[in-house]
């Protein structure tokens, strides 16, 4: 039997954080029938905990996909420790547990960001002139790579030439998002948070700091379109499955490396 375990951060205070994990799990169950016998959610701060999820799962062939944007403290330290993983592939108690990388660095991520931006603009008028895509990252000291993953996606999207400009701004590191949005030379600004879930920042601090009035904010010099976090987009479910599939070839690869 085959299981997919999706790991989320979770929250002690509200359902925002775990909701996308449950929604993506439900989509995987519906859209990929037959691929996994079990699709199970688990969390750092909610139940079932990572510590206990493997007890609940019946399958012997397990893939763990972290619903996290960047490589860092959680994906490198907390998740492997709590699940008791030895590395990309763990053999224990007659089971094989494969551990996938985070979602943000995956090659499919730019597509999800672009879909999110398209959904946001659909049916809304843009001003004549240039349109900039601005990716918003968290950027914390706890996670040195959290900025890097936003730049990586900006670069990949830039290469596609869909937007006149692709810029990057952060909450907790330079360049600050407010300055980027102010300074960007475009009549239309499409602002997409590269976060995994809605939360206090996406709902309160960001709109407040940037003076946003909702999805569309008209300024004298530009229109700002503000999207939901990329992690809540339904296509993330496909990304999770692709991440899981990618780990399958790994054992063969590892075996080759050893021999």
């Amino acid at each position: 039997m085959k299981a997919l375990i999706i790991v989320g951060h979770g929250s002690h205070l509200n359902e925002d954080s775990s909701l996308p994990v449950y929604e993506h799990a439900a989509l995987v169950r519906d859209h990929y029938t037959g691929e996994f016998d079990e699709v199970v959610e688990c969390f750092w701060k909610e139940e079932p905990s990572m510590r206990h999820v493997l007890d609940m799962v019946e399958s012997e062939n397990i893939t763990v996909v972290p619903a996290f944007i960047s490589e860092g403290y959680f994906t490198q330290q907390v998740i492997p420790r709590e699940l008791g993983l030895d590395g990309p592939v763990t053999h224990r108690d007659g089971r094989t547990i494969r551990y996938a990388g985070p979602l943000g660095t995956f090659e499919g991520m730019p597509d999800v960001i672009l879909e999110r931006a398209d959904d946001l603009l659909k049916g809304k008028g843009t001003r004549p002139g240039r349109t900039a895509l601005v990716l918003l990252g968290h950027g914390t000291d706890l996670n040195k790579n959290s900025g890097g993953v936003v730049y990586l996606n900006a670069e990949r999207i830039r290469e596609r030439g869909v937007y006149d400009l692709v810029e990057v701004g952060f909450l907790d590191q330079d360049p600050p998002i407010a300055e980027v949005v102010e300074g960007v030379e475009a009549e239309n600004v499409v602002l997409i948070p590269v976060f995994i879930a809605e939360g206090w920042h996406t709902r309160e601090t960001i709109p407040e700091d940037l003076g946003l009035t909702g999805e569309v904010t008209e300024r004298a010099d530009k229109t700002i379109f503000y999207g939901a976090p990329v992690g809540t987009h339904p296509s993330v479910a496909d990304l999770i499955v692709s991440r899981a599939r990618e780990t399958e070839g790994r054992e063969a690869e590892l075996a080759r490396d050893v021999s």
Binding site: L13, S49, D55, E60, V78, D93, G94
Partner: protein
Amino acid sequence: MRATSPERSGGEAPRRNTAAEARAAFAAWVGEAPEGRSFGQVIVRQTPEGYELRHAANVGVPDEELVVHGDPREAREIAKLTEEGEYRPLKSSPNLRRGWVLRVEDERGLYVAMNYLYPSGVVHWHLYRNGELEITNYRENAARQSGIYKRVQRLSDEGVQNAARACCEDAVCLKKTLWDVDENTPRLSEPGEGEIPCPEPCSIFVSFARRVRLFERENKRDLDAIGLSPSEKEDLSALVDAAATGSVEFAREAEFEEPLNERRMRYRKLTLVPKLRPDEDAATPDEG
């Protein structure tokens, strides 16, 4: 939970599937009791069509008065919010809402539903019954913590004891607490009467322990002339302010930074009330 399966020497012995065993054992246990079994706040009963789950307070209530669910995954929504619409971060908290009945077709549906109502409850119940549940004591759990939770390693034994009394007893969590402070230091709080074992401090407990550790630090250096700490005074003022309005509104269940949090108040009852009323026998419990 790393050693629940027997040691394996080679790669050939068939794997013991504890989760599948637990699923079958639970269904059998339910099947043996025609009136149903109680698990947490839920009554589970076998019916000719499968299994039926409802809140223990809703036994005998006709369908017309309940919301009837037929998909085991709907158990997640049932378990998510309290009757007052508050988010439930701890599923074993005694605040599962009433007013629903969930009918599932088979053992698998039952297992899915139970794991949303009481995540990993069935498998831990099964392992505990067989004497195979591995327990992780507080110190072992704390040693693993990092980042903002690393400081729980410094919580005193007394702090752990009080935190467990405030956080884990049946008034606030229906799990049966099985872990100790460490191998040589038994936990003194009441373990609880329920069917669902708790083999290791949960994330809510660790977060509460972090808060209690911060209280302990204050006690070393910041006490005023009558021996009160800044946070104790903050809590007392908040309580007086709130009560003066005629209704005390509590903070959310796991909002331990807020003065009027139930677990935080339970901790104050254990540690602050004896300071305020030194003449009374502080050890007298208030149950009666």
